[in-house]
Structures are given as C-alpha cells and as structure tokens.
C-alpha cells in the first residue's frame, strides 16, 4: 500500500466517523429511535454516493469498492424478491400444502381431472425447467439448460409476435392515416390563426402532413433493398431529417433525465446529509 493510499484511507475513515457522530447527534436531537444506527446509515449512504462520484476524477479503489458492493447487493436483492414474490407466492401454494402452511400462504388446491390427473401437477414443469436452467452452472451437463432456455425464448417469441404485430405495426400504421386537409374553411381562414391552439388549419395540417410523410419517408430510409436514388432517394433524405429531429428530441430529453438524477443526488447530499438546505 502506497503512502498516498494510506493517507487517503485514514482521511476517509476519519471523515466517516466524524459524519457518523454528527448525524447521530442530529438524530438524537430530533428524537429519533436508534439514532446511532440512523447516523451510520445516512453517513453510509452519503459516502457511497461520493464514492461513485469519485469516478469523475478517475477510476480509483473507492469507486471500485462501491461498484462491486452494488453488484453484490443488487444480485441479492433480485434473488430475494424473486424467491418471496414468485416462488413462495405462486409456486409453493400449488405444490405443497405443508410448505404453504409454513410460509403462511393460502394453499391453492387443484382439481382431479377424470380421476387420474391432478391439475397442480403441471406446476412441476417450471420446477423441472428451472432446475435444468441451473444446470448451466455445471460444465458437464450445461447443455441441458438449453431446454429451459428454449422455453424462455419460445414464450418470448410467441408473446412478442402477436403484441408487436398489433400494437407496434397495425395500430401504428392505422394511427398514421390522419386527415391531411383539416376542417377546411377557405384560404382566408387558413392564414388567420397561427396559434398552436387554433382548432385545425395551418398548424394542425402541417403537423398531420409531417406525421404522414415523416412516417412514410422514415420507413423508406430503413428500406435497404432498393437503391436510394431519384424520388426514392429524396424521400429517404426527408426521412433522415425527420429521424434527426427525433434524435435531437431524444437527446434533449436524455439530458433532462440525467440532470434530474444528478439533482436528486445533490439534493440528498445537501439536504439529508449536510443539512445545508431545506
């Protein structure tokens, strides 16, 4: 360990302890139960925030520590949630009455069909596939996890085929057929109101033309089986422009989103940790 690393570590530890004491005292004044714990947790939260932000200077051990901690905690989080919500909530009540009782879940009794088939038996299927999926961890029998993978992929494909066909293809095309001549009342009226709130006329018409032509030309741009020359090329060029406007809008919104997250963290540091703003 270099001398600099030792100094930095000592500084971090001292600051952490100082913050812990300070926050604990604050919590005690506010009458919070377990004020020592509260002080520790708020300090921990702040230091983890700062640890991630330290990446802005450069990649460093403090950042790596926080990053690795995050990976571990996240994996544990999703596993626990998955276990309690779906395994305990959906699977066990259909497979075992005694286990349902243990977990205090209402047992979901199945029915006997024709006297020889118990409907809940089908719920052994996901258990078998689940176990097959876990075989992926074995180097010798890992191939068998493909069966479970095939189930996952098949389900996803089956679900998406219909849903995308309906909502992202048919409905989207249907929504593109908009009136291109909106509420026509003569040329005088047409130029009389350029307000966006005007009911119809110029702005509404331009919007509808752009929607119709924009979708058409955007799709032409994505059509690579024909060379983009002549009228087709011009349409494709217009399609690019529309897509550029779209990407610009997306960029603007992305900036807004990312800044919001930063505001959230800075607000936490200033208000909840340092207490310098209300």
């Amino acid at each position: 360990m270099s001398r600099l690393a030792i100094i930095v570590t000592i500084c971090v530890v001292v600051l952490f302890l100082g913050s812990w004491i300070f926050k604990a005292l604050q919590a005690q004044d506010a009458g919070v139960d377990h004020y020592l714990l509260r002080g520790f947790l708020v300090t921990c939260s702040a230091f983890l925030t700062l640890a991630i932000l330290s990446f802005l200077y450069k990649d460093n051990p403090i950042y790596k520590f926080a990053e690795h901690l995050y990976v571990g905690i996240s994996a544990g989080y999703w596993m626990s949630q998955g276990f309690w919500s779906t395994i305990v909530g959906n699977l066990i009540p259909r497979l075992s009455q005694s286990l349902s009782g243990f977990f205090k879940q209402p047992y979901n009794a199945g029915e006997w069909m024709g006297g020889f088939f118990y409907t809940n038996w089908v719920f052994y299927v996901p258990v078998i596939f689940g176990v097959l999926l876990l075989m992926r961890l074995s180097s010798k029998y890992g191939w068998i996890s493909r069966w479970a993978l095939a189930f996952i992929v098949g389900t996803t494909a089956g679900l998406q085929f219909i849903r995308y066909m309906r909502s992202d293809f048919i409905e989207q095309i249907s929504s593109t057929f908009v009136p291109l001549l909106v509420d026509w009342q003569g040329i005088g009226h047409f130029f009389s109101n350029l307000s966006l709130s005007a009911t119809g006329q110029l702005v509404a018409m331009v919007s509808n033309w752009i929607i119709f032509l924009g979708v058409l030309c955007g799709l032409i741009y994505f059509f690579f089986s024909k060379e983009h020359t002549g009228l087709f090329g011009k349409a494709s060029r217009f399609g690019i422009w529309i897509l550029m406007v779209t990407f610009g809008a997306s960029f603007g919104y992305t900036v807004m989103g990312r800044v919001s997250l930063l505001v959230g963290r800075i607000t936490f540091l200033f208000r909840d940790w340092l207490g310098i703003t209300s």
């Binding site: 802005l56 200077y57 989080y77 999703w78 949630q81 998955g82 919500s85 779906t86 909530g89 959906n90 009540p93 977990f103 205090k104 879940q105 209402p106 979901n108 389900t155 996803t156 679900l159 849903r163 995308y164 309906r166 909502s167 992202d168 409905e171 989207q172 249907s174 929504s175 307000s195 966006l196 709130s197 779209t246 809008a249 997306s250 919104y253 992305t254 900036v255 807004m256 989103g257 800044v259 919001s260 997250l261 930063l262 505001v263 959230g264 963290r265 800075i266 607000t267 200033f270 310098i276 703003t277």
Partner: protein, 313 residues
C-alpha cells in the same frame, strides 16, 4: 398554450446566473485561445450549475402541456370510487423523476376518492412504493384504509409475462397481496377478475418493462386505458402511442412539475405540500442553459479549427 414563467429577480436566479456567467466567460476565453479544456473542468462546472440552484432555490409557475393535462383530466373525470391500478415500474435511478409524479398521481386519485390497486413489475418498484405509502398515503390521507381504499399486490417476476397473465386473470398471478392476504378477503378487489376491470391503469416507469409493455400486453388486447409517467429518456418514444393507445403522458421531471402544478391549481390543500418536481426545475433550467452553452462553445471551437484548416489549405 404552455406557460412556464420565471421571475428573474430572485436571489437563486441572480447567484446562479453570476456563477454560470463567470464560468462560461472563462470557457469561452479558453476556447478562443484554442486551449484544450479538461473534462474535469466541465464536470466541475456542471456540478456547480446544478448545486447553486439547489442551495438557492428558484420558484416557477408551470402549466401543463396537452399530453400531461390529458392524464390529469382523465383522472379528474373518473367518477368517485373508480378502481385505478397504479404500477410502480422503476428503480432508484429513475426515482428522482418518477417518484414525484407517482406521488402526485396518488394524491390526485385519493383526493378524487378513487380506489387504488398498486402493483410492481420491477422488484425495486415494490420497495419504492413504500415511500409513497409512508410519505403520502399515511401522512396526507390517514383516513384511507388498506384493503378498502387501496391495496398493494406487490411485485411478481416475469416482466411482460406477468402482464400477459393479469390481462385475463389477476388472481392466477396474484393469489394474495404483498402481505399474503388472499385476494378474496380484500374488499377493494371485489368484482375484479382481470386488468380489464380497471377504469384506468397508470404505469410509472421508464425502462423495460414499462409503459410501452403495458400498452402492448394490457392496454391494446384488454381495451384498458393506459396512462403513463415516465423517465425522460423514454418519453419521446411514447409519443407515438398518444392519444389512441396512451391517454396521457408525464415525461420526466417536467411532466412531474406540470402535474404538481395542475394539482395545486385545482386543489388548495396541495399548495402546501412538497412539490419536488417543481423544485427540481430550477437546477434543471440552469443545467440546460449550461449544456446549450457547451454545445455552442464546442461549435465555436470547431468552426475555428475548420477555418484554420481552410486557411492553411
């Protein structure tokens, strides 16, 4: 049609403008001198431009855009006691944007005496829902009872798979609520067989699965009106579904601010509650201005280099 007004003569605005002005003047000088600006200088600048209005808050008046107002009006127009499903489909990374709108929508629904059924398609959504329940429902609507006025079905794994089941059979996917109470014992769920029995579903999220999947797997096949509150990054995509497949949309923190403002305008009691969406518009504004300035400075540097190259040729 849209207003977002700001009074310049506020300490927050003046201090922020001064900080930004000095920084930008410095950057412009360096750019004109052809100096390479270290990325850390830019980082520091962004930090300061966001931090200053957090320290010296700026107040705004925000009025809703038509797409945000559409969601507000929909909730406003539903008759008292209507059953609305609210899905928490976000993680802590989206929370600064989405949680304010979630809180605002819940406030609005409870103010209108609608019955709320919460679910989460993201595991993190279930944990974040606790914040709404503790900070909004318990504090502002203590009279609302669990099981009668609202219930929390919690999270189920499977993403779109969950939606695909609940569009036809809610109980099959959610035999109990989050605290293992059987659905039959929850009063609010009487008469509810599937998602089709809700008058409105509001998906609050921004990733996948999120509002888009609600439209694809529940809204369109089940003929259920879907409203959405989403993180800014996914808002532009959702415009393609409006108004036919999506009845209204709150996009990013601006959407949250618009909803909060509408709520304040309509209901006096909400004028005194915390409005994080509106509060965040201050730093947001400054950061946008700074980023626009960066783009302009970058282009100045680019034009300068191009002119030099042209001159050399």
């Amino acid at each position: 049609m849209q207003q977002l007004t700001l009074s310049v003569f506020q300490p927050g605005v003046l201090i922020s403008l001064a900080v930004i002005g000095v920084g930008l003047a410095l950057l412009l000088r360096w750019t004109l001198q052809g100096r390479e600006v270290d990325r850390r200088v830019i980082f520091a600048f962004i930090f300061v431009s966001v931090a200053t209005p957090v320290l010296f808050p700026i107040t705004f008046e925000v009025k809703a855009t038509p797409i945000a107002k559409a969601l507000f009006e929909k909730i406003e127009s539903l008759p008292e006691g209507t059953k609305v499903m609210i899905s928490y489909d976000f993680d802590p990374a989206m929370a600064p944007e989405v949680l304010p709108m979630a809180n605002a929508v819940v406030r609005h629904c409870f103010q209108k005496n609608h019955k709320l059924v919460f679910i989460a398609i993201w595991a993190t959504g279930q944990s974040l829902l606790n914040q709404t329940l503790q900070q909004v429902v318990a504090v502002e609507f203590p009279e609302k009872q669990q099981g009668i006025d609202w219930c929390n079905l919690g999270y189920k794994a499977g993403n779109e798979g969950v939606m695909n089941v609940i569009v036809t059979n809610l109980k099959k996917m959610f035999p109990t609520d989050v605290n293992s109470t059987p659905l039959e014992q929850i009063e609010i769920l009487e008469g509810i067989q599937s998602c089709r029995d809700f008058a409105l579903i509001v998906s609050l999220g921004g990733g996948q699965p999120g509002p888009k999947e609600w439209i694809l797997y529940v809204g369109d096949p089940g003929n259920v009106p879907i409203g959405a509150g989403t993180a800014a990054v996914s808002a532009p995509q959702l415009y393609a579904y409006y108004p036919k497949q999506l009845i209204g949309l709150l996009g990013g923190v601006k959407g949250a601010a618009e909803y909060e403002f509408e709520l304040m305008q309509k209901y006096e009691r909400f004028k005194s509650v915390d409005a994080p969406g509106i509060r965040m518009m201050g730093p947001q504004t400054l950061a946008h201005v700074v980023i626009i300035a960066f783009i302009m400075l970058g282009n100045v540097a680019y034009l300068r280099t191009r002119r030099k190259k042209g001159g050399a040729a």
